[in-house]
Structure formats: C-alpha cells, structure tokens
C-alpha cells in the first residue's frame, strides 16, 4: 500500500516517515489512490459521520470527568446521576455547551449515518466487492444504537429508567437463558445502581470499539474503492480523481454546512429532539407513554406491534418473543443485503422499478417511526404543522381505517417484504436501463 520511498521533502517529516511509514500511507491514500470523479453530495455523509464520532468521543470524555453514576438520592429526592448532569449544565464552565453538543450530537450522528446508509441502499453500495464494507457498516449501526441507549440511560431521568427497564426486559424473550441474561445486564434483579454503573462503564468503552470498527470500515473502503452514482467500475484514468484536494475541499464544505445546522440546534432548540420528561429525575414509576429517542423509533415500532401469540403446531411463540425476534430480524436482514438483492446493476439510477420500491421503503421507515412514537391502541395520525392528520378512524366498536398498531403491522410487513421478497424477485424480472460504458463516457444512445 505504501510506496517504498518517503514522498516528503521536509527533513523532519521525511526522517519520521522513514522510521514509521504511517505518514506515507496517509499521503498515498490521499494523493495516489483512485476515487471515482463523479461522487455527488450524498457521499459527504461518510466523512461527516466520522467527524461526529470524534465530536461525541471528545465531548463525552469531558462529560465523564464530571458525571457520577450513582442512583443515591439526596434530601430533595434527586439522584446523584441526574444531579451531576445538571451540575455539568449549571456549574461547569462551558458545561451546558458540552452537554448539549453531546446530546444533540447523538441525533446528528444518527442523521449522518442514516443518510449514509440510505445512499448505500439506493446506489447499491453493498454489492460485490463491497459486502464486507457494508457488513462492517451494519455492525457500526448496531453499536451506535446500543451506545445511544446506554448513554440515554445515564441521565437517570424518568425516560432513562423506562428505557433501561423496557429494553433489558426484551432479552427475557430469549428461551431458557433469558432470565439469566437479564440479571447479567442489570447486575441484579432490578434496574438499580449496579445497572447504572455497568451502563456507564459500557458507554465509555463501546465508542472505542466503534472507532475500531470504523477504522476497519475505512481500511475496507481503501481496498475495494468507493462506489459511485453510476454504480459502474472504474475503467481508466479518465474516470478517477485523487481524494486530495478535490474531495477534501468538498468534504470541508459539507462538514461546514452540516455543522452550521447542528450548532444552530444546540443554540436554539437543544431539547427539541429529546423527550421533555427525561429532564425530571426518575421516581421509579414507568410513564404511561414510553418512547425512545427518535432514531430508535422504527425499530421500537417493530418491537411493539406484535400483540398476539403465534401457535406453530403446538410450539407457542409469544407476542413478546415475536416482537424481539422481529426487531432482531429487522437489523439482521441488513447484513444479508449483498445476497438478497439479485440485480446485477448496482445503481438505482438505472433501475426504474427498484426506484419506486426504494422510495416506498424510505416512506415505510418514516411511518414506522410515527408508529413507534404513538400509542398502539389509538387512531394513527400524521403530525403536521396544522394539527393532526388522522389516518385511522375509531368507529367506537373498532377501527374503520386502522389503529397505530394496525398501521405498524402493515409497514412492518413492507419492511421485511422489501428485503426478503421485493429485492430478490425484482432483480430477476426488472429490465435495467442501459449502463454507460464508463464514468467519463456518456450513455450510448
């Protein structure tokens, strides 16, 4: 990978690089490595996500210097963990900015990763030879979800407690081992001090594991090369460009724009993306309406839509187990993407029928997010700036159109159908448009 001679003229850099050839490896990947020259702005989100990980680690490190993972309550009935978070906001110099950059940053990290993944789904970035690259990305997503959940619990507010209680309960759906796993996760029977302490330890550790997987993700990218909007391979020097200076400048522009929005939210709406009730210390009662943070909503919807038991010739799978299976499956199916999509064409740009189902899938995820945020047994609605737009009508003796739960079942169905029916079948029957001969040549007439 690295050239045999140091590319540096500066004697210090040259001397250092000749002793530890790490600089030349970076230099090589920035200047000599071939990138497609036609990457569009959807490709900005990878570097943005990487920088957001750094922001989260750095702000998190300083927060950890002031945070106390203790459920012990003072004479006000406020637990020490909650108090230490407020202490950061009120007494630590710059602490409010640190804390809000971290809590809002989690949302913006997910925004970057979500755009990054949908880009990959549209342009077929998971197809050969990028299977490992895609799978490492899926590992990153799951780690992020876990870390976000752990971090959310640390506040030890009303919804922190509910999240810790409900999500650890999900593991009891596992037959035989479930109860032992629950005790292992909680450090005991209850959601208590032991749980909070191990959640803090894991919330500190796992981001570094995540950073390790990100490095593997980037190394894999360096090996197999970037996909591009046309989804065709690099043919000649006419198709390529070096990363620096073209993509460094393009990425800096994308980062600046993204950070403008991110920091504006920190300044003016730092609580807008969060559940307000979590700003109250927990009293160990579950709130009547339990909702996770927005980025977990579609998966939470899939977890909770199964309200019936399934009887498979005497083998009963409870609704709770179905929900846990479905949620695990909704993530697990992502790992199978490279083999589920049978189309030889990567880019959705040349797949007229695929496009239709892809945007249906985007809509499906949005609807599932709404389902996750709403109450199962009530009429489903779309929130608009002008009020609620009902999509379910309760006729008194049952739903005419559909409850939140019914819409959830419908779109959970589409979620899975997209991966295990539509993509495999579509690849066999769809007639793709004519692919261009190369990135630098126009499409043949």
């Amino acid at each position: 990978m690295a050239g045999s001679r140091s590319p540096f003229k500066n004697p210090f850099l040259k001397g250092f690089d000749e002793r530890l050839p790490i600089l030349r490896a970076v230099h090589h990947s920035m200047t000599a490595h071939a990138y497609p020259k036609n990457l569009n702005y959807w490709w900005n989100f990878g570097s943005i996500a990487g920088i957001m990980l750094l922001v989260m680690i750095v702000t998190g490190l300083f927060l950890a210097m002031h945070y106390k993972p203790s459920v012990q309550e003072d004479t006000y009935g406020i637990n020490q963990a909650f108090r230490s978070v407020e202490h950061i906001m009120r007494d630590v110099k710059g602490g409010m900015f640190l804390r809000y950059m971290h809590s809002v940053g989690a949302s913006f990290f997910f925004i970057a990763v979500i755009f990054h993944m949908f880009r990959g789904l549209y342009y077929g970035s998971y197809k050969a030879p990028r299977e490992v690259l895609w799978i490492l990305g899926c590992v990153i997503l799951i780690l992020m979800m876990g870390i976000a959940f752990l971090g959310y619990s640390l506040v030890w507010g009303v919804m922190s407690f509910a999240a810790a209680e409900v999500i650890t309960q999900v593991f009891t759906a596992i037959p035989i081992l479930g109860d032992d796993i629950l005790i292992l996760l909680r450090g005991g029977e209850d959601v208590d001090d032991a749980l909070l302490n191990r959640f803090f330890a894991l919330h500190f550790l796992l981001p570094f594991v995540l950073a390790g997987v990100v490095i593997l993700h980037i190394l894999t990218l360096q090996t197999v090369g970037s996909n591009n909007p046309l989804g065709i391979d690099l043919k000649s020097k006419k198709d390529t460009v070096s990363f620096h200076p073209y993509y460094t400048f393009k990425d800096i522009f994308g980062l600046a724009l993204f950070f403008t929005i991110y920091l504006a939210v920190v300044a003016w709406a730092p609580e807008r993306l969060a559940e307000a009730i979590n700003n109250q210390p927990t009293d160990y009662n579950l709130p009547s309406h339990i909702v996770p943070e927005w980025y977990l909503l579609p998966f939470y919807a899939i977890l909770k839509v199964f309200t019936w038991d399934l009887n498979l010739f005497g083998l009963v799978i409870t609704g709770k187990q179905l929900g846990a299976l479905a949620m695990a499956g909704s993530l697990g199916v992502l790992f199978m993407m490279p083999w589920l999509d049978t189309s030889p064409v990567r880019s959705g740009r040349f797949r007229p029928v695929f496009k239709f189902f892809f945007w249906g899938f985007v809509l499906c995820c949005l609807i599932l997010a709404l389902v996750g945020a709403q109450t199962s047994g009530e009429a489903f609605f779309i929130p608009t700036p002008f009020g609620r737009l009902p999509l379910g009508i309760d006729a008194g003796n049952g739903f005419v159109w559909g409850s939140t739960q019914q819409w959830g079942v419908l779109f959970t169905g589409y979620y899975f159908a997209y991966f295990i029916v539509i993509l495999p079948v579509l690849g066999l029957f769809e007639k793709p448009k004519q692919l261009p001969a190369s990135i630098s040549e126009p499409v043949l007439a």
Binding site: T31, F253, T260, V266
Partner: protein, 258 residues
C-alpha cells in the same frame, strides 16, 4: 430508595399525575425568552422569585438552583447574601447533632418539607422539585403557565384531589388564594393572578435553563461564523474543482489499478 418507589407506586392515580394523565389543550403564550434572540426580563424574574417564595416554596424546592445564581436576576451580591441567610439549611453541627444554619451563596433553595419521606408522610405524594420543571413537560413554559392558570375550584373532585384544565385530576392544591386584593410586589404594584402566573413561569423557566441568553448569544456568533465558513469553503471547493477538472481533462487521475 426501594421503599420510596414502593410507596410512590402504592399511592393512587395521583402518583406522577403529570406523566400519566393526558394533558389538556395548552395555549402558546408570548415570552421574552423564546425565539433566536430570546432573553430574560430581569424585572419579571425578580417578581417571579417573589411569587415563588410566596406561593410555591412552602411545598416545593429548587434543589438544583444555587442562591449565587440569583445574581443573574440583576440582584446585587449583598442582596442575594441577605436573601440566602433568611433560609434555614439543615446540617450536622460540630457536636454531631442535627441543626440548622443560615443559608450561604453556595447553597441551593432548601425544601421546607425536608425530604421525600416526610413529604409523602405529610401529603401522600412528594411535591416535585421545580428546578427542571419548565423543561420537563411538553410545551415547557406554556405548559407551566396553563397549569397554574387552569384551576377551577367549583369543579367536583374526589377527596384530596383538585380540578385543573391541564390535568383533570391533580393532587397539587390551587396555589392562588380566593382573595389576593391586598397582595403586592415589593415595588408596590398589585399583579393579577395571570400576571403572577406569568412571572413565576418566567422565573421557573430561568431556573430550568439559566444559561439560555448565553446560549442564544453564542448561537448567533457561532452560526454566523459557520455560515461564513460554509460560503468560503464552497467557493474554495469551486475554485479547487475547476483546477482539478482542467487537470483531469489533460492527464486524467490516478490509475484505477493502483
């Protein structure tokens, strides 16, 4: 802690009513502190503090708000010290006995009820700490204002509960006495019930988010800086792109096999 949670769970519907009861309609109000340039009106906050002392602190606490932070209400440090010293702070004295001492700047607003167990023993349910109340309900300040102005004592209610438009069954009694005609602010004005609710809501919003003004000012500087950086980096990108395209047309990029 476990006994506390068990006690809280055993208490009736009134347990965590704000959480379990569906909220009624909440009208949005105009506040000085909303919007990108939002700021606190220190005079209003001082009035709000006075209302808090008169109507709230017999049952509620501000366990996260230090007296020293009251200088943010444009009150002199000496006045804050004097105010702090009017509060009794429980502590263990040098003989090892429970005792009280006058409050100092570093103390937080104490809780007259002492601790959650005594609060529950007295009222059946602990009145919540108000330090973060204005940011722990959907609607924020609008919610607090709607709740404070939502009482209707004429409404029939079960024993020990009260009627409120926002929360139909609430265990918090109506904080407003029927006759407030002789109530006046330290400056001599006689506020209406709505005015008092408005002022104390502003104060509670400040208590929950004391650095809002700092954040708004920071935001304007940071976002203007970032916007400038965005424009400059876009122009830089276009300049670089033009040069790169010219070079690519002439000699192409790196070898894809490389």
């Amino acid at each position: 802690m476990k006994t506390l949670s068990a006690a809280a769970a055993l208490s009736t519907v009134a347990a965590a009513p704000a959480i379990s009861e569906a909220a009624g309609p909440i009208d949005s109000q105009t506040w000085s502190f909303t919007g990108p340039l939002g700021y606190y009106d220190e005079g209003q906050l001082q009035h709000g503090l006075y209302v808090y002392q008169t109507r709230c602190q017999a049952c509620h606490s501000l366990g996260l708000v230090r007296f020293s932070s009251l200088t943010g209400l444009d009150v002199s440090e000496d006045a804050v010290k004097a105010l702090a010293s009017t509060y009794e702070i429980p502590y263990i004295n040098d003989d090892g006995d429970r005792d009280v001492r006058p409050g100092v700047l570093n103390d937080t607003f104490p809780w007259a009820l002492g601790n959650p167990k005594r609060a529950i023993a007295t009222y059946g349910k602990a009145p919540p700490d108000l330090s973060t109340m204005a940011r722990s309900r959907i609607g924020g300040a609008d919610y607090v204002y709607a709740l404070l102005t939502g009482y209707d004592d004429a409404h029939e209610q079960p024993e020990g509960a009260y009627y409120n438009k926002v929360m139909k069954v609430i265990s918090m009694p109506n904080p407003w006495p029927a006759d407030m005609s002789d109530f006046e602010y330290p400056n001599g004005t006689r506020p209406s019930l709505e005015q008092q609710a408005r002022d104390v809501t502003a104060f509670l919003n400040w208590a929950a988010d004391p650095y809002l003004e700092e954040r708004h000012q920071w935001g304007i500087i940071v976002v203007l800086y970032m916007l400038a950086l965005t424009v400059i980096s876009f122009l830089a990108y276009r300049v670089v792109a033009a040069k790169v395209y010219a070079k690519l047309d002439a000699e192409g990029g790196p070898d894809p096999e490389h």
